[in-house]
């Protein structure tokens, strides 16, 4: 089974670790910290304003479920949730996506440096993770979910 992220990217079980009827969650090519994952509506929709009531409901219930697992399994104490909605907010893929970032005391010198990292993470020249590494993480994370939609 494949999932579309924007118009040009196809994701499979190598990245996707959880899916519901209307949403899916996947690991990141360039996480800003370990455990930085993304949750999307299945339908390729650019802006948050375009989501249906059912999509919103499913998306943010999924965000809650994924956040709980990510915080616990990455031994974090807090979470940052963020949506860059539209080109002038830093959105780089035309598909609504919620960033979930596990946070710990002292993970950044200033707690909000995480956003500077978020801004850079898909633009800078850092090498991407290998597909093997991503698949291993996705496979591990999938064990915490019942994959209803797959």
């Amino acid at each position: 089974m494949t999932f579309s992220f924007g118009s040009f990217i196809s994701l499979t079980g190598d990245e996707v670790f959880h899916s519901t009827r209307l949403s899916f969650a996947f690991v990141n090519l360039k996480p800003v910290v370990p455990g930085h994952v993304l949750v999307c509506p299945r339908r390729v929709v650019k802006r948050y304003a375009e989501l249906s009531f059912k999509e919103i409901t499913d998306l943010f219930k999924t965000v809650q479920e994924v956040g709980i697992v990510i915080e616990r399994e990455f031994k974090a104490t807090s979470l940052t949730f963020c949506i860059q909605d539209g080109p002038d907010s830093g959105q780089t893929v035309d598909h609504v996506h919620v960033h979930i970032i596990p946070r710990k005391k002292g993970d950044y010198e200033n707690s909000d440096e995480v956003y500077t990292e978020l801004a850079k993470h898909d633009k800078d020249g850092r090498p991407s993770r290998s597909l093997e590494e991503m698949a291993k993480e996705a496979s591990w994370l999938s064990t915490f979910f019942r994959l209803e939609g797959r």
Copy 2:
């Protein structure tokens, strides 16, 4: 009618411009840009993980409605949505709140500087806005909503 924001802050129609059965939206004491507003569940709950399914549904439908109005009325082209969930994410009030920030081309030299501003906005020594100014804005914004819960 009053709304609790955390354990110590009471808000009234001077700040609150929209409310639903389970959520409310209010203007900011120190907005990082004009139109920066907050949306909360009515129940004082510290972490996102504690929200019920109904609260999540109501909260993010309200976020969508408020975002559409804010983007249009502040003549923006994009939105930043953000939740600081827990003490190590920069959360300063123990009550789940979604930041909605209208964004425009060139509003910051680097688009993601908005987060640095967000990190500082309730900590630095900048003067707060006057209650008169907030009440005027809340009154204006309330005209775009049907205040179901009031």
